[in-house]
Amino acid sequence: MPDTPMLEIADLHAFYGESHILHGVGLEVRQGEVVTLLGRNGAGKTTTMRAVMGIVSKRTGSIRFRGTELVGMAQHRVARLGIGYVPEERGIFSSLSVDENLTLPPVVKPGGMTVAQIHELFPNLVGRGSTQGTRLSGGEQQMLAVARILRTGADLILLDEPTEGLAPVIIEQIGRAIHALKRRGFTILMVEQNFRFAATIADRHYVMEEGHVVDMIPNDQLAANSEKLHTYLGV
């Protein structure tokens, strides 16, 4: 069914305790697409991802993955459907070695990448297997956070700010890896503050403001919309 989106979010509201953070978010991601969420700090991009994963459990509305409703589903079952999550804070475990971090997420579907293929994609991780996870540099930790999801067979990947706080050379390397993943057929929803970086990879961009999606811009119309985008992002 090429016509049903892989991920379809409609009228999503999400709450942290009493504070109402998302106010009816709607967006969709199709098979094989790379889609970004742009928006200022605090717009609700991370919250959207956490709501998809069930980490923010107080939510209403609809989140469908390949037609399956995720709202109301037990949290540990979401990943098992084939969704891989790379959190903003990277979440590398300090009590685990690099190899243990890499093999931690359980394989949920056949067709995941092998460790050899992952090492080819991220040569920095080769030979570091027994190092404590958090001894890696920030860039290497980011690579590890992406790498560990690729083994699991997940085909939708949620990437929260993969370039945040990294040096330009590392950003370039991560960019190449994301391109390679796109060629392999992964579907990616990515939060990105750096829209110059986003423009090199994404097919479409959603813009969020104060818990709403306020605009959708196809990548080929980015230049034409640059003025509007500057206002949205305040850059």
């Binding site: 994963m53 069930g54 980490i55 037990a74 949290q75 540990h76 079952r77 979401v78 990943a79 098992r80 999550y85 959190p87 979440g91 475990f93 300090s94 009590s95 685990l96 243990e100 093999t103 931690l104 997420p105 359980p106 949920v108 699991t152």
Partner: protein
Amino acid sequence: MVTLFGIPTQALFGQLLLGLINGSFYALLSLGLAVIFGMLNVINFAHGALYMVGAFAAWLLMQHFGIGYWPALLLAPLLVGLFGVVLEKTMLSRLYKLDHLYGLLLTFGVALILEGAFRHWYGASGQPYPIPDALRGGQNLGFMFLPNYRGWVIVASLITCLGTWYAIERTRLGAYLRAATENPTLVQAFGINVPVMVTLTYGFGVALAGLAGVLAAPIYQVNPLMGSNLIVVVFAVVVIGGMGSILGAIVTGLGLGLLEGLAKVVYPEASNIVVFVVMAIVLLIKPAGLFGRER
């Protein structure tokens, strides 16, 4: 008479052996506490009572079903573990969102109830539990006499401790456990059912206490208050070793048992307080414990 530093070697090794046996129990019990604390962030005050329940389970299995020591060594910890699973599922798990003090209070209450109930049913005097036939007698080591059963307790406890350490530090399941200790939310987002893991961890931790209870039954008799006498020292051991450190719990347990034994020969008056003196010193110098990490 052969002496070492002016102490008769017979007495010295005898006390060190006693110390090592006490240390084996300290290690097993503080290991369970450390495993539970690491995962649940709960200080399990019911630990001593569940050690007592393990010993009573073995005794009751023998009294009522004629089930002997060896099957009880497996069954009693299983029963205690099951009790732990039910306790965690029905009560403890409701308290995680509240202050950690609530978990502590709940387990403290459970300890009081268990000890009170067993005291009500079986009285405060000890019930003897026979040493299994295969482990009667002893070995003359030349410098001392080693009762077989005591040797077995040391070996069994060491194997259990090292096995647990290996499972946690070197296996995949252990990696899940360590990861979930650090960041349960993310581990859950990777598709692992963390609440079930927490329940099983608690069950396993208290099963270790149950196992220690069975091992202790032939040595100390079976008595409703056997746990509360021991657990005070075990908590001191945990403080000295550092909360949540697996290896720390094992090494500190054995080490402090030995130290107590040594104190009994060198300066008997101090043997009951030496652990607490060490605790005070450790708290002054390294508050997180010898093996603990500052949080």
